[in-house]
Amino acid sequence: MDRSPVILAAILDGPVDPSAEAKALSSAARALPELNTSGRVGATLRFEGIVRRDEPSPGAPPSAAPILRPICALDYQSYDPMAQAQLESLSRDISREFGLLALTTLHSRGRVRVGEISFLLTISSSHRAEALAAMTAFIDRLKRDVPIWKTPVWAD
């Protein structure tokens, strides 16, 4: 089974903090350490999407430069169970297309405050090129194909 990628994809309530990550990763508790000591992995890439302190104010003309307005959090709404199924199939597709060794991704549902992580993607591959290409492709398709929406919680 040397060639089967380790895949984990989940939508969870609240921010992607270390305890949420550890809990989600426990289902791959044997496969990931085995992979990491196998000598097959040449590159690991980790992306964290973090809630910023401001968001574009709605209603401005699309051509104008966005007016940023302070927020205290983002509320993420997920269309369940389709969002989970789409996140899983996206993870499988990207792993296969780019020949990855492992892919794990977690996305928040509900409220995530400024400075907290709402999205995590980690990729392991033999070489760096496919890890970088896979990460860019994954995030592009996530924003197209996974039914999750964010609503700003304005601070003012």
Partner: protein, 81 residues
């Protein structure tokens, strides 16, 4: 027939609801659903110029026939990540 279409994000804010009801003629397709939403709910027209729908939790093309028992959701302008 009548159909409730699920909406999300900025579309739900514009609709002031998480679903909108549309009246449809006989043997409607998703294209008819999109047209009816734009006509019967003008504040949502901005989101229906190139709409994308899910039927029963899977993406479906605009030619897909719709029954009143289908779960239909407008999946445009997602914003995850």
């Amino acid at each position: 027939m009548h159909l409730d279409v699920l909406v999300f994000g900025s579309i739900a804010i514009a609709a002031k609801a998480d679903r909108v009801r549309v009246r449809l003629g006989d043997a409607p397709t998703l294209a008819d659903v999109a047209r009816a939403m734009a006509e019967q709910h003008p504040p949502l027209a901005f989101a229906l110029q190139s709409p994308r729908f899910a039927v029963n939790q899977a993406f479906a093309s605009l030619s897909t026939p719709i029954a009143s028992t289908d779960e239909v959701a407008l999946i445009t302008m997602v914003g995850g990540g």
